[in-house]
Symmetry: C2
Subunit: 248 residues, 2 copies
């Protein structure tokens, strides 16, 4: 393996003091949010090293979408790491439990849903951190947002700040001061509609992305799970057409 | 899967208010330290749920040792989760690089060695955290120590404290207050000799454990890597015999 060397940690992306774009590790699920976060990081001048986690999710078509998005964004490298969370987590996303359908908006906004996977973002960010240290990349990009997914504890600003602090204590590069790790969560305060508008401004093709927790067949979204409902409502509120086809 | 229910978070292990021992998730590598930490947690009255991580380590015999130790400690359950760190980490423990041999004591104590795996303990603790939340276990046990492994940033007390803080922000149980997560690192201030003496007091059979980073053949330690050198010195300083056989 060969890796890019990082610029100094104080230079801005593509600034005059940088010989090459600064590398960033982007957690890329293949969903709408992570694709938009990656597109924003690319527009900010980062060289993207995409990391997709195969965690035994039942919506495995997402992994294929991740490959398509990575190719469209012309990432430097795309790695997939497998970790079988289904051995230790009975969430609706990894186990046999039913994915909730047709929930009304007030339910979507309240409480922690059955699709919550314990410590998922902590596992993902930990893997991204290890990869980032190896690359010499100080920036980790994650597409969490605290508005539409208010029920997930590991999508909140205070969680992201705590992980950033941990990252700088956990690593050789952080302790020795050769890197200052930053968790970039550009979508954290945005609504789904704002995310979609920004992605479209950047030319992101949302037909490449996959959102559904419980596809009918590969690539055919159910249109009724929480993720589909939030996506569809986001496109409506953004005044744009969702390029995906839903059942009538 | 069925899981134990946790006691109230304020009761002590085996106290009168507990119907059953409180569950704890123990990161069990099969090495001397994690086996001792597990034996201490068991002596403290916890019901042990052992978690072994198969991270593509070249010293894979360790996984077999983990199974033996788990059986000897009569854990409630032993799970192994695979995560292939070799895709993203070129450490001497996961890649093809040479494991250092015959390093003098002053070198062992200084700097971060080639066997450092970026973010390893953060990945391990994240997985343990997810499993603990599923079990309803507030306690995570890890056999890190900051004395013999002073070069590893993720073995220090400030790192453990930062992870504990993160754990309570990252999880549904932590945010809702149904669990208070604690990272138990009972060996963190101990020398290897102190660890060995305590383990032997508790009846731990160290012939079951595996320490070597670069075994000659399955179960036959090289005797010369950093891990073997620290173990051998620990037994000498503790005034005990190491039950493992080393090359002459």
């Amino acid at each position: 393996m060969t890796f890019l060397m990082a610029c100094t940690t104080t230079c801005t992306p593509l600034s005059a003091t940088c010989v090459m774009p600064r590398p960033a590790v982007v957690l890329l699920s293949g969903g709408l949010d992570s694709a938009t976060a990656a597109a924003i990081a690319r527009a900010d001048g980062f060289a993207l090293f995409a990391l997709t986690i195969d965690y035994g999710q039942r919506h495995r078509y997402e992994l294929e979408a991740g490959r398509r998005v990575a190719a469209a964004l012309e990432v430097e490298r795309h790695e997939t790491v497998s970790v079988d969370l289904s051995r230790i987590s009975p969430s609706a996303l990894t186990g046999a439990a039913d994915v909730p359908k047709d929930r009304p908006p007030q339910e979507l906004a309240a409480g922690i849903p059955a699709t919550y996977v314990p410590a998922r973002n902590t596992v993902f960010l930990s893997l991204a951190l290890g990869y980032a240290e190896v690359l010499g990349a100080g920036d980790l990009v994650i597409g969490v947002n605290a508005v539409d997914y208010s029920g997930y504890p590991d999508c909140r600003p205070e969680y992201i700040a705590a992980f950033e602090r941990l990252a700088n204590l956990a690593t050789k590069a952080g302790v020795e001061g050769t890197l200052r790790f930053r968790i970039q969560a550009p979508l954290i305060g945005w609504t789904k509609a704002q995310i979609i508008r920004r992605g479209m401004e950047l030319g992101l093709d949302y037909s490449l992305t996959h959102t559904c927790y419980d596809p009918l067949t590969a690539g055919r979204p159910c249109g009724r799970c929480d993720a589909c409902l939030l996506r569809r409502r986001g496109f409506v509120e953004a005044g744009r057409n969702d390029p995906l086809q839903y059942p009538a």
